[in-house]
Amino acid sequence: MWNSFSTAGPVSVTAEITTFTGGGGDEIHAYVARPKTDEPLPGIVLLHHMPGWDEFYQEFAERLARHGYEVIAPDLYCRFGHGTPDDVFAKVRSEGGVLDDSVVADGAAALAWLKSRPNHNGKVGTLGTCSGGRHAVLVASLVPGFDAVIDLWGGGVVAAPEDATPSRPVAPIEYTEQLNTPLLGLFGNEDQSPTAEQVDVHEQALQAAGKDYEFHRYDGAGHGFTYYHTGLYRQEQSMDAWEKIFAFFAAKLQS
C-alpha cells in the first residue's frame, strides 16, 4: 500500500538516466529506478504515454521503485531526436507516431535487460498509461517472458480495421490468443478512448479465449485519472487504482 512503510527503515531508491541496447541494437535512453537493496528484485518495463518520455513518467518509475521493483522506462521516442518532451512529441506526431514494431522491440530489449540484472528475482511485469497501456498489452502479447501486464486506459486496444495506420497496423485485441500473461485493466467509464463499449469488447475477447484478466472500471473518471498534473485527475479513483496496481504486481511478481 502507498504510504505504509515503516519509519524505522524506509526503503531508499536510486534513479538515473542511462542508455541500454534497445530494439534493433540501437543505444537508447532509459530512466531506471530501483530500491537500494541487495535483495532479489522483480522488474517492471514501464512504457510511457503518448505525450512522451516525460517528467510524470520519471516520477511514476520512482513510485514503483519505492514499492520494491527495479523499473526501466525506455525512451520509446529516442530515435526521433531530443528536445523538451513536448517538442519531441510534436516531431513524433508529425511523423505519424512511433511504430508498434519499434515499441515491441524496445519492450523485448528492456525485458532482457532486467533479466540480466544481478539481483533479479526472475519476474517481470509491464505497464503503461494511454498509448502506453495499449503498448503494454501489445508487448505482453508478442514478447514471451512477462509475468504480469497492466493496461491503464489504453486507447486503441480495440480498433476497427479501417482505423489502422502504418505505425499501428494491428489492434492488440487481435493478439488476444497469444496473450499468456495475467492482465489487469483499469478504466474510467467516461473515457472516450477506450469507451466503456470498447472495454466490453476487449473483456469479451479475453473471456472467450479463457485468459487470466481482471478489469476495474471507475465511475466519475475518464481518461488519465491518475495524472495529478492535469485536470483529468480524480483523487479517489486514482488512489484506489494505485492500490490495485501495487496488489496485482505484488501477487504476480513478488511471490
Partner: protein, 87 residues
Amino acid sequence: MCTMIAETSSISGMAKNENGWFAVTRATVGYDHATHSKAEHALLIDFTNYDIGLGARVALELDLESGRALLAQLQSAIVQAEATGLH
C-alpha cells in the same frame, strides 16, 4: 484518448520563437492530447524546421471554436490577398 489525428505538410515561411526568427519547413495540424491547455484535447498546430532542431518550433493549442475562427480568418485574408493581384 489518443486520436492519432495529425496531418503534416511542407510549408515555406518564417516563424519566431524565443531564439528569434527562423525558416519553417513543416506544418502539422492534429487533434490529440493537449500539453498545456486545460482541455484534455486540443487542435495542435506546429510550425517547425527539423533541419535546425526539435526546438525550432512554434506551437499552438487551440479549442475547436478558435480553430474554426482562425480558419475563417486565413481564408478571408487569402481571398483578399488574391483579389489585390499583388501575390
